[in-house]
Amino acid sequence: MTTVLPLIIVVPILAAVGAFVLPRWSFPVALVGSLATVGLAVALAIEATATGAVRHTIGGWRAPLGIDLVLDGLALVMVLLTALIGLAITLYGRGYFGRAAPETEKGRQAVYFWALWMFLWAALNALFLSGDVFNLYVTLELLGFSAVALTALADKPNVLKAAMRYLIVSLSGSLMYLTGVAFLYGGFGVLDIAQLSSLTRETPALAVAAALMTAGLAMKTALFPLHFWLPPAHANAAAPVSALLSALVVKGSFYILLRLWLEVLYPLAGTFVPQVISLLGVGAIVWGSLQAIRQTRLKLLIAYSTVAQLGYLFVLIPILALERDNTLVLGGVICFVLAHASAKAAAFLSAGNILQALNDDKLSKLDGLMRALPLTVTAFGLAGLSLVALPPSGGFVAKWLMLDVAISRGYWGLTVVIVGGGLLAAVYVMRVMGRLFKQAAQPEVLSALKPVPRVMEFSAFGLALLAIGLGFAGVYVLRLLEIGARAVAGGG
């Protein structure tokens, strides 16, 4: 069964190539690729729950030059998350791009979308499974390229500028990371994370690496105040791309940061650095929420919500770095990743539906859409529920765990922020929901809406259900995270 591990990267790459080479068949190819990848992810999950963590050396080449793929609980959860959301986005993309011939502008976009999306999926899987810091760099770059290219799909000024900004940020972030890798290698002579984990000590090289990698990855994850690039990129991209970017892509760089602090940079846990990261997270929650509240466009509002929500990912870093064995703390963060990914994808897809129907996403135009697009609005509402972290939802479980950690350790300031952030989220979600529930001032607008393909509505709704359903899956997520929790870190 160990062959499955590389397949989960290879299959989407093949699909990407196929979609590009066979433009008329790009969607079927992508669909098959998506289904196969989901199947592989499930197979991996079954395997890992049965046998524990999996380590695979591609082509028999050993580290340091060979490529090691490592599947532990954390990686598995991320792969599964990507699979679930990826499938929904593939389905959504079908509705979004329709059956336009490849010769048309829209058809051309569709072909690029399918190819790039499959490529991005491969990059994500590769990133999650990479066992050494340099391979992480490569996958990070691949992820960045495909994300930027996807952003730039729509050939409009704002989109292109946002993509360019995104590219600059992405590249400089990756380069900082790469420089950090150089320092790590210079300092400890290995690249394999598991090996590094047992070697790292508090040395100047580690400090420099920590500084470069943390800053670079923080920027790529749009941690406040380095989030400036995110809202225009996420808000201006095509709906399925927005969902991808917000739900999955930013999680890629965060995943690396998390791994680093868990397994490489932890000797610095005693310094004030994790606290600084945590403080920036707090800043993100407050700042992002305030910005989201004052937005007048739906997609920008959702994008700023992402800025705010990403802040939550960072607030527990100090505790994580100290208590690396505590899956409950990690569980809190990861549950948040899952909850945010599903909810945010659902929110962006719903926004895409609204945009499709209305050709506008100004909040002031949303009056009464509850009647016109009940399923979409419900999807947005459910996603909002999870963002506000009201039970029963994935967001609630995540915040529950985070609050549990914060309160039981006496982090009262953090408690206030987590709780207050939920209320701020309620404010911006309600700004939208209130509109949607309102009686339309001009009912004729509602009858002039463009039709929204059912598959788009249902995939948004499905993701929203996932966001809610995660509220009942906390136990299972934690159980998955237990897989190989120490075995991987300790082995080598």
Partner: protein, 573 residues
């Protein structure tokens, strides 16, 4: 269930069921609705004392029983309701809203009967409440402005009385841990409970200062309703006292009642004398007469060996007053119909004043023989006081008859049933006390020479005084400055209370308005904060700067990485 027990239930069930039936069928009056009082009358006459029925499922366990006090009260109450009911049937014949009247009439009747046979405090409270609330419908029946005003005032006092009674019952129940009335006697309730009981039933009984509603409500109601209000229902207050007022400090409370009784007796007379409405005069007379009964209750409270006799005296007086006042009220309906009417009305009027050989004389004799046995100077004070009050009664009655005699001829037809019921009631007034076995002692007492003398004297003085006043008035007509009557508006001190209430209401409104404004402000400041908006507008500028100026964002990036380095370096020092 024996027939006696069944009758006990039927006393209240019959009028209750018929009342509810009438309430749902407002198109036509039940024929002879007054007969609903028959089971009660039968109960009073034939059900053996001590008959009891427990129904644990109802309320907190319900007990109905017939004791001596209950028997007497039930008797005259039922009799009066029966006759007034039949009277009303005829009296309100042409009234389109007669069914409404009877609905409330029957419900009030059920309440009045129920509270008499109730042997636990919850039932008493329940029926008392039913009676009080239902009689509101009787008071406002005419729908005229003064009836509405009277009704409003009545309702305020009813509610105040209800909550006072409620508090008293809770206190008594907690202190004695029983709800059975029979187990209350001699348990010695505390002064607060006693005060609440005295006050709440005092409202119903029209004790001075709590009487406000009476002079307004009794005249406002249709005549048969006035009769039962004044004759029967205010006695429920007396029965309430007898049932619940078992203070530990019996003597002190007794003396308080003696004083209050005397004051009430005088007060009613003084305030009533200048009234221009015959029914108002009667209402004030009722207040005055309740003062006499309160004296009896006072003696009962002082207790000792007089307790039993006092109970009998109170019962007799209540019975006498109920019938006499009922007859007087019904008589108002015939005012002007015939010249004979004022003369016929002399009978109940003189009975009320206590003329020998009338029920009044018997009742007063019973009372007098009680007060004479009191020590500590009370005997003398009361002897004089009651005699003076009797003069007042006589004057009131003279005023009443004067007003009746001047009533213009009514346009209404007088069905025979009206006359018949009135006549029946008059016969009862004349003879009833001489038939009742309980009264035999008092009857012979009243016929003693000394008693006859004390009874006749105040009547003569009163008659002389009214004659003099009448003479002065007729001679002085046009020469003396005309008196603007009534000198005191019905409800007398009500004016003070009304002013107080108005002030209180204004104050409350102002306070609440202020509170409301405050609350609105609070909520307004809570909802979608303005402060939040101002803050975020500022943040938006920063945000735009961060996005467009690469040096700012790059600076932040550098700051972060250098900061990390710096921190590590600092902490390694």
């Amino acid at each position: 269930m024996s027939i006696s027990q069944l009758l006990l239930i039927l006393t209240w069930l019959t009028p209750l069921a018929l009342g509810l039936w009438q309430l749902t069928r407002l198109s036509a009056t039940l024929p002879l609705a007054g007969l609903a009082a028959l089971p009660a009358l039968l109960t009073a006459l034939f059900v053996p004392l001590g008959t009891q029925l427990e129904i644990p499922a109802l309320l907190f366990g319900s007990i109905f029983a017939l004791d001596r006090a209950g028997q007497v009260f039930l008797f005259f109450t039922a009799l009066l309701w029966l006759l007034a009911g039949l009277f009303a049937q005829a009296y309100l014949q042409k009234d389109a809203r007669q069914p409404h009247f009877f609905a409330f009439f029957l419900l009030a009747m059920a309440g009045n009967f129920g509270l008499i046979v109730a042997a636990d405090m919850f039932n008493f409270y329940l029926w008392f409440a039913l009676m009080s609330f239902a009689s509101y419908g009787l008071i406002v029946h005419s729908g005229q402005a003064e009836a509405q005003r009277a009704g409003r005032l009545y309702m305020v006092l009813v509610i105040v009385g209800e909550v006072a009674l409620f508090s008293a019952l809770v206190l008594i129940n907690a202190a004695t841990e029983t709800s059975r009335l029979a187990e209350l006697s001699g348990r010695g309730i505390d002064d607060l409970s006693a005060a609440l009981i005295a006050g709440s039933f005092g409202i119903k009984a029209g004790a001075v200062l709590l009487h406000l509603w009476l002079p307004l409500a009794h005249p406002a109601a249709p005549i048969p309703a006035s009769a039962v209000l004044s004759g029967a229902m205010i006695k429920a207050g007396v029965l309430g006292w007898l049932r619940f007022l078992q203070p530990a400090e019996g003597a002190a409370w007794g003396e308080l009642f003696l004083i209050a009784g005397l004051v009430t007796a005088f007060y009613g007379a003084v305030m009533g004398i200048s009234q221009t409405n015959a029914k108002t005069v009667l209402a004030y007379s009722s207040i005055s007469q309740m003062g006499f009964i309160m004296v009896g209750v006072g003696v009962w409270l002082i207790g000792g060996e007089l307790r039993e006799a006092a109970l009998v005296a109170v019962g007799l007086y209540a019975l006498h007053h109920a019938l006499a006042k009922g007859a007087l009220f019904l008589g108002v309906a015939f005012g002007g119909a015939s010249r004979l009417v004022p003369i016929v009305l002399l009978l109940p009027a003189l009975a009320l004043a206590g003329l020998p050989l009338t029920s009044g004389a018997v009742a007063k004799a019973a009372l007098k023989s009680l007060t004479d046995q009191l020590s500590g100077g009370w005997a003398e004070v009361l002897s004089l006081g009651l005699s003076l009050a009797a003069i007042g009664t006589t004057l009131l009655m003279a005023r009443f008859l004067w007003l009746i005699a001047r009533t213009p001829e009514p346009h209404k037809a007088m069905p025979r049933l009206m006359w018949l019921t009135w006549a029946a009631l008059l016969i009862c007034v004349a003879g009833i006390l001489f038939v009742l076995p309980e009264a035999s002692g008092a009857v012979s007492e009243s016929l003693k020479e000394s008693k006859v003398a004390t009874a006749v004297t105040p009547i003569l003085i009163g008659a002389a005084l009214s004659g003099a006043v009448g003479l002065v008035a007729s001679v002085g007509k046009g020469r003396l400055p005309a008196l603007k009557l009534p000198l005191v508006a019905p409800g007398d001190v009500l004016i003070v209370f009304a002013a107080l209430y108005a002030a209180l209401e204004r104050l409350l409104r102002a306070v609440l308005k202020g509170l409301n404004v405050l609350q609105e402000r609070l909520v307004a400041s809570l909802s979608w904060g303005r402060a939040l908006n101002a803050l975020s507008a500022l943040s938006a500028q920063l945000e735009a700067r961060l996005r467009t100026d690469w040096l700012v964002s790059g600076g932040a990036l550098l700051l972060l990485s250098l900061g990390v380095l710096l921190i590590v370096w600092l902490s390694s020092l």
